[in-house]
C-alpha cells in the first residue's frame, strides 16, 4: 500500500524476454511487489540472473515491463519528471571513456539544465565528496576501477537525488575500494537519501541496509530487516577461557560435567564427535581448544544454561560471553533460496 512516505511502489511487476527462438519467453521478473519508504536503504540481493538488474532497468525506463506497474514518488515510472529526483549508478560504471571526471560530471549536470556556474560548483562539490579532486583530469579509461566507480557515483549525485539506485556499486572493486564505496554509501544514507541497492556482496549489504529483499528466479522470496529475516536465535553460545590455571584435572572434570548435562564435547574438532548422554539436548555441543572453549546450546534447551555455567565455573573457567548469535545474511540467503520449490 503506497503512503505519503512511499518513495517506490512496485506492484505485480513481470518481465518476460521473448525471442524467435524462445516464443514462450524467459521470465526475468515474476510478479514482483516491493515498497521502499523515504530515507531507508533497501537492498535487493540474489544470485546472477535473479532479475535484480532487470528490475532496475524497468524502474529507469530502459526496458518496459510485460505486466504490472511501478511508481516513484507517486508518479508512473514513464513520467520524465521522476528522473529529476533519482540518481542511478550503473554496474561497471559505463561512462564515456575519453573524458575525464570533471568533463563527465559537467556533461551529466548539463542534462538537468543547470547553468555553467552551478555546474562548476557542483563538479567541485562532487569531486570532493568522492575524493577525486586530485585525479579530476585523468581520462576515464585511465582511471582505476575504484576511481571509475567513484566518478560514476558522483554522476548519479549531480541532481542531489532523493532516491539513489545503485547497481552492484562494489562489483569488481578490491577490498579497499569496497570499503571506500561502503563508507560513501553510509555517508549518503546519513544525508537522508533513500537508497535502492542491488548487490551480491552480502557483507556490504549487511553493513548499510535497513531492509533486504532476496530475489531468486525473478521472484522476491524473502523480505524484511535483517533481524526479521534472521528470526529468533537458534542457539545460545557460552564462551569461556582460563582452563590453563587449573591444569588437566579441571578440564577432565568439565568434560564429564558437560557430558552429564548432555553436551557432546569435541576436544579438537569443530564438530561434536562424542555421543551425548540420552538426556542430551539435540545438537548441544562443546569445543575445547587449549585454555578456551565454547558451548553451543540449542535455544529450545536454554533451561540447561544454568547447569552449564555452573560446570564451567566449578572447573575454574572464566565466562567471557553468553550470546545468542543471529545467522549471517549469507546463511539467511542460502536458507531462503533452498526453501524455493524447484
Amino acid at each position: 500500500m503506497a503512503t505519503a512516505e512511499t518513495v517506490l511502489h512496485i506492484e505485480g511487476l513481470t518481465k518476460i524476454y521473448r525471442s524467435l527462438f524462445t516464443p514462450a519467453g524467459v521470465k526475468a521478473v515474476d510478479d514482483l511487489n516491493l515498497t521502499l519508504r523515504k530515507g531507508e536503504t533497501y537492498s535487493v540481493v540474489g544470485p546472477n540472473g535473479s532479475g535484480k538488474t532487470t528490475t532496475l532497468k524497468i524502474l529507469l525506463g530502459l526496458i518496459f515491463p510485460t505486466a504490472g506497474s511501478a511508481t516513484i514518488f507517486g508518479k508512473a515510472i514513464a513520467d520524465l519528471s521522476v528522473r529529476e529526483r533519482i540518481g542511478f549508478l550503473p554496474e561497471d560504471a559505463y561512462l564515456y571513456d575519453c573524458f575525464n571526471g570533471e568533463e563527465l560530471l559537467d556533461f551529466y549536470a548539463g542534462l538537468f539544465g543547470y547553468s555553467k556556474r552551478k555546474r562548476a560548483a557542483l563538479v567541485e562539490e562532487l569531486l570532493t565528496l568522492v575524493g577525486m579532486q586530485a585525479n579530476r583530469k585523468v581520462a576515464f579509461r585511465e582511471c582505476s576501477k575504484g576511481m571509475r566507480q567513484r566518478i560514476a557515483l558522483a554522476q548519479a549525485l549531480v541532481n542531489d537525488p532523493e532516491l539513489l539506485i545503485l547497481d552492484e556499486p562494489t562489483s569488481g572493486l578490491d577490498p579497499a575500494g569496497r570499503h571506500q564505496m561502503t563508507l560513501l554509501i553510509q555517508e549518503l544514507k546519513r544525508r537522508g537519501k533513500t537508497i535502492l541497492l542491488c548487490s551480491h556482496f552480502l557483507a556490504e549489504v549487511e553493513e548499510v541496509c535497513d531492509r533486504v529483499g532476496i530475489m531468486y528466479r525473478g521472484k522476491l522470496v524473502a523480505e524484511g530487516s535483517l533481524p526479521e529475516l534472521a528470526g529468533e536465535p537458534e542457539e545460545v553460545v557460552v564462551t569461556f577461557r582460563g582452563l590453563e590455571r587449573v591444569a588437566g584435572a579441571a578440564a577432565t572434570r568439565l568434560r564429564e560435567r558437560l557430558h552429564t548435562a548432555g553436551v557432546a564435547v569435541a576436544p579438537e574438532a569443530a564438530e561434536p564427535d562424542e555421543t551425548p548422554a540420552s538426556s542430551a539436548p539435540a545438537g548441544a555441543f562443546a569445543t575445547l581448544r587449549g585454555a578456551t572453549g565454547e558451548v553451543h546450546l540449542p535455544a529450545a534447551h536454554e533451561s540447561k544454561l544454568w547447569v552449564i555455567l555452573q560446570a564451567v565455573n566449578e572447573a575454574g573457567g572464566q565466562i567471557v560471553e553468553v550470546s545468542r548469535p543471529r545467522p549471517s545474511l549469507q546463511a539467511i540467503f542460502v536458507r531462503a533460496i533452498r526453501e524455493v520449490p524447484e
Binding site: I63, A76, L80, R83, E84, C98, F112, G113
Partner: protein, 299 residues
C-alpha cells in the same frame, strides 16, 4: 464515391490513427524534458568524442593529400586541369564525406547501447527523441567541420593553381569558386539526409547491418533517375519494388552539382533551394520515425 468505399476508408483511416498512437505512445512521455539544452549537450559530447577519434583525423589527412596531389596534372591545358581538379576534388569530398557519414552515424546509437553509456543518460530527464536528435546534431556538426576543411583545401588548391598558371603561361582558368563552394554545400546537404537515414536504421539494427544498408541507400539514392527508367521498362512486382525504392529512398542525385561546377555551367539556385527544402522535410520525417523507433527500443 460509394458509401462502402467511404466506410472502408474511414475504418482504414481510424486504424492508421490508432496504430500511430499505439506506436508512438512511448515517444511522448509525460513530464518535462529539458528539450534544446539536452539536445545541445548530447550533440556537444558527440562532437567531442568524434574529435578524439584518430580515424577521422586520418581520413581528413588523406583527403587533403589527395586534393593537394591534384596540382600535379600540369601536362593538361589550364581548362582541363581546372575541370579535373574541381570534379575530382568535389568527388573526393562526396565520397569521403559519405564514408565519414557512415562511419560517424552508423556507430552513434549502437555504440551507446553496446557500451551501455546510454544507461546513465536515459536515467536522467532526457527524452529518447532528444537523445536521437542530439546524436544526429552532433554528427551533423562533425560532418560540417569535415566538409568545411575539405572545401577550404580544395578552394586553396584551385586558387594556388590559378596563380601558378597565371605566372607560368600568362593565362588563367578563373575557377568559379562560388559554384565550387555551393556544390560542396549541396554535397553536405545530401550527407545530412543520408545521416538521418543511417540514424534511423541504427535505431533498429546492428552496426554491420546499418553500414550495409547505408551503402545500398547511397547507391540507390545516387541512381534514382535510372531506377525510374528501369521501373518504367519493367512490370509486375519488379516495377512495384523499383517504384517503392524510387519514392522512399531520397534522391541524392538532386544534391549533386559537381558537373555544373566543373564545367562552368550556371547553377540554378531555385532548384538547389528546392532540393534543400525537400531534403529538410525528408530528414525531419526520418528523424521523427527514428525517435519513435528508439523510444520503443529496450536498451
Amino acid at each position: 464515391m460509394t458509401p462502402i468505399l467511404l466506410r472502408i476508408m474511414l475504418v482504414v483511416g481510424l486504424a492508421l490513427v490508432v496504430s500511430v498512437i499505439v506506436l508512438t505512445r512511448r515517444a511522448w512521455l509525460p513530464g518535462i524534458g529539458h528539450g534544446l539544452p539536452s539536445i545541445w549537450r548530447i550533440a556537444k559530447i558527440t562532437v567531442a568524442e568524434a574529435r578524439r577519434r584518430r580515424v577521422l583525423q586520418a581520413v581528413i589527412a588523406l583527403v587533403i593529400l589527395i586534393l593537394l596531389s591534384m596540382t600535379a596534372f600540369s601536362y593538361l591545358s589550364p581548362q582541363e586541369q581546372a575541370k579535373m581538379v574541381i570534379d575530382g576534388g568535389l568527388a573526393a569530398i562526396t565520397v569521403f564525406g559519405i564514408l565519414l557519414a557512415i562511419f560517424v552515424a552508423a556507430f552513434l546509437i549502437p555504440n551507446e547501447v553496446e557500451n551501455r553509456t546510454v544507461y546513465a543518460i536515459l536515467a536522467k530527464p532526457v527524452r529518447r527523441s532528444e537523445f536521437v536528435l542530439g546524436k544526429y546534431l552532433g554528427a551533423l556538426i562533425v560532418l560540417a567541420a569535415m566538409v568545411a576543411v575539405m572545401t577550404v583545401v580544395l578552394v586553396g588548391v584551385l586558387v594556388t593553381l590559378d596563380h601558378l598558371i597565371k605566372d607560368q603561361a600568362g593565362s588563367s582558368f578563373n575557377p568559379n569558386l562560388a559554384a565550387v563552394v555551393l556544390a560542396a554545400v549541396m554535397s553536405y546537404c545530401s550527407l545530412a539526409v543520408l545521416t538521418a537515414l543511417i540514424v534511423l536504421i541504427s535505431t533498429v539494427s546492428s552496426t554491420t547491418m546499418t553500414v550495409i544498408a547505408a551503402l545500398i541507400i547511397w547507391a540507390v539514392g545516387s541512381l534514382q533517375s535510372q531506377i525510374y527508367v528501369l521501373a518504367e521498362s519493367n512490370g509486375g512486382a519488379a516495377k512495384l519494388f523499383l517504384l517503392v525504392l524510387y519514392y522512399l529512398v531520397p534522391h541524392l542525385e538532386n544534391f549533386d552539382y559537381r558537373f555544373q561546377a566543373a564545367n562552368f555551367v550556371a547553377i540554378s539556385v531555385p532548384s538547389a533551394i528546392g532540393a534543400v527544402i525537400v531534403g529538410i522535410g525528408y530528414t525531419l520525417v526520418v528523424l521523427v520515425v527514428a525517435s519513435i523507433f528508439f523510444s520503443d527500443r529496450q536498451v
